[in-house]
């Protein structure tokens, strides 16, 4: 029965990544935790992954605060191009 719970390191790290976004299923989390019992490397990968997630979230927060606007010069050029096309 437990054989079906066995996953490779590739699968484990994929689930671990999915879990960073809170989107791993209960079964996936169960498989991942069982994998950790045997694999210390993946456990270590997961711990570091959590650290990275914190960094990514911090970066995401600062990126979201930026609103990008098209430079006026480019808008003027685009207006010209559009008017040419209309003729």
């Amino acid at each position: 029965m437990f054989k079906s719970f066995r996953i490779t390191c590739n699968e484990a790290t994929t689930i671990c990544d999915k879990n960073q976004y809170g989107e791993a299923t209960l079964l996936e989390k169960l498989k991942l935790n069982m994998h950790f019992i045997r694999c210390k490397i993946c456990f270590s990968y997961t711990k570091q992954n959590m650290t990275l997630t914190k960094i990514y979230k911090g970066h995401a927060k600062s990126c979201k605060e930026i609103k990008h606007c098209m430079p006026t010069k480019d808008k003027d050029l685009l207006k010209e191009e559009l008017s040419k096309l209309k003729l």
């Binding site: 996953i7 790290t13 992954n49 990275l52 995401a60 990126c63 559009l82």
Partner: protein, 194 residues
Amino acid sequence: MIFILQMTQEKVVLNTNKWIDNYADYMYNYAIVRVNDSDLAKDLVQDTFFAGLKSAKNFQGKSTERTWLVSILKRKIIDHYRKINSKKGKAEVRMNFYEDGENEGNWLEERVPQSWNNQSEKSIENQELKTQLESCIDALPEKYAMVFRMKTIQEFETEEICKELDITASNLWVIIHRARTQLRKCMEDNWFNS
């Protein structure tokens, strides 16, 4: 130029003269958060306006002008994504982290996570860290970087990304996994243990 479309009883007006003033910033912002390249974002917006102008007669007024233009822009982004997805070379490079086989613990020795010297939690607000992270994201294959940015930086829903880029959820998670493993390695080499 104003297109007036006669529908059953009502008239739908498409005012193309005001497009740039009304929508250029919104569409530019929409494009740049997805492609992270200002020149490419400008090109995509320009192509969208051109395509919109050409098909203005098809506008039925079922949605707002902006929604209609954004749907064209989305199409352009998907086309771009498909183009980079089909490119050979950089996008094809895959870092192998594991030996072949189905057993656990089969990490390649050089890929095994190293212990990190630099304690990142203290440095999350550090500008240098952000610069390094951006440079690591930029080093990813374009399609990985695009999906990673949409999911992790812009925090879009999985379903939304799949719909926009026309990929399956399992496809998305494989891309996210590859992006994150490559990023981890890059950050390990250039930040944590540099």
